[in-house]
Symmetry: none
Subunit: 150 residues, 2 copies
DNA sequence: ATCACCCTTGACTATCCTTGACCTTTCTTG
DNA sequence: CAAGAAAGGTCAAGGATAGTCAAGGGTGAT
């Protein structure tokens, strides 16, 4: 029953704590600082981020290199609910159904009005102009990608 | 989670502030003054202007050398920017180009951050999963539809 | 004991920013 | 004009970050 937590685990928990403590949905931090805080090499941070803070687990990471670089770790919303929706969709979906889902996500407050509007536009048959089967499969991929990134 | 802005970022923001505060569509300033204000070498100003205040992001810079020289930074009209982008697109466009355009539209303030993120996602090769030529044509339709509806 | 699967480390790479020496253009003055 | 002063421009080197990858280290299951 000795130190049951690997360094990666500790770092994961620390980051999640920071995410809870902030008022925003994200934190911005320097990779090298995080590494120094845990007395490890910077690439360890990259490892933790790429194995744990991924869309499938409800997170997204954006970073910038060079002087003034940073890492931004963002928590995505309502992962569970979106998972279930994802199941429902399967791998093909009509323009109408897609529009409805986007509309519902908007009503649920998970998508802003402009976002919903632009997405609806790009999911329409007029813009896609593809054979129905192809279009429906593509739409399914688009909506699923959307759900995993909200 | 400090303010983490590079000098270049600060200068960019400062210039944008000046542009907002003036009644004109442009500002006229001396490179050396700007440099002194930020305690840096003048060529740093040139760097910021050439990486951030470019037509693709909705700006144009005109300058004159010699005694009495100046730099004039102008914000393009929305219509100019959209026209220019539409030209650039034509009827086929790669994922990378599409992502850049969306990013620029965001930096130009015409798209919110969320919108930009979702659009970038839906324009990616990973989501489209179509033959390159088909994908590039579709992307062109999507981005043009977007531009038309901004 | 061995295998599989993480985790950890560090050398190398990619990207972005900052600085300074040197160049070009325009104006002012004699 | 010619020369000097007063701008802005170019470019390459170096600094500050973050990313990639492959080799090696634990640890638990078989």
């Amino acid at each position: 029953m000795i130190s049951m937590w690997s360094l990666a685990d500790k770092m994961e928990n620390w980051i999640k704590l920071l995410l809870e403590e902030t008022d925003e949905r994200f934190i911005k931090i320097r990779r090298s600082e995080l590494a120094r805080h845990f007395s490890c090499v910077p690439s360890q941070v990259t490892y933790v981020l790429s194995t744990r803070f991924i869309p499938e687990r409800g997170y997204r990471v954006i970073s910038r290199r060079g002087a003034g670089g940073y890492i931004r770790i963002e928590r995505l919303s309502e992962a569970d609910l979106l998972d279930r929706l994802e199941q429902q969709i399967g791998d093909t979906i009509s323009a109408q159904e897609a529009a409805e889902i986007v509309g519902n996500l908007h009503k649920a407050g998970l998508l802003g009005e402009d976002v919903a509007q632009y997405l609806g536009l790009l999911l329409s048959d007029e813009v896609l102009q593809l054979p129905e089967i192809t279009a429906n499969r593509l739409r399914a991929r688009m909506v699923v990608a959307l759900l995993t990134n909200i």
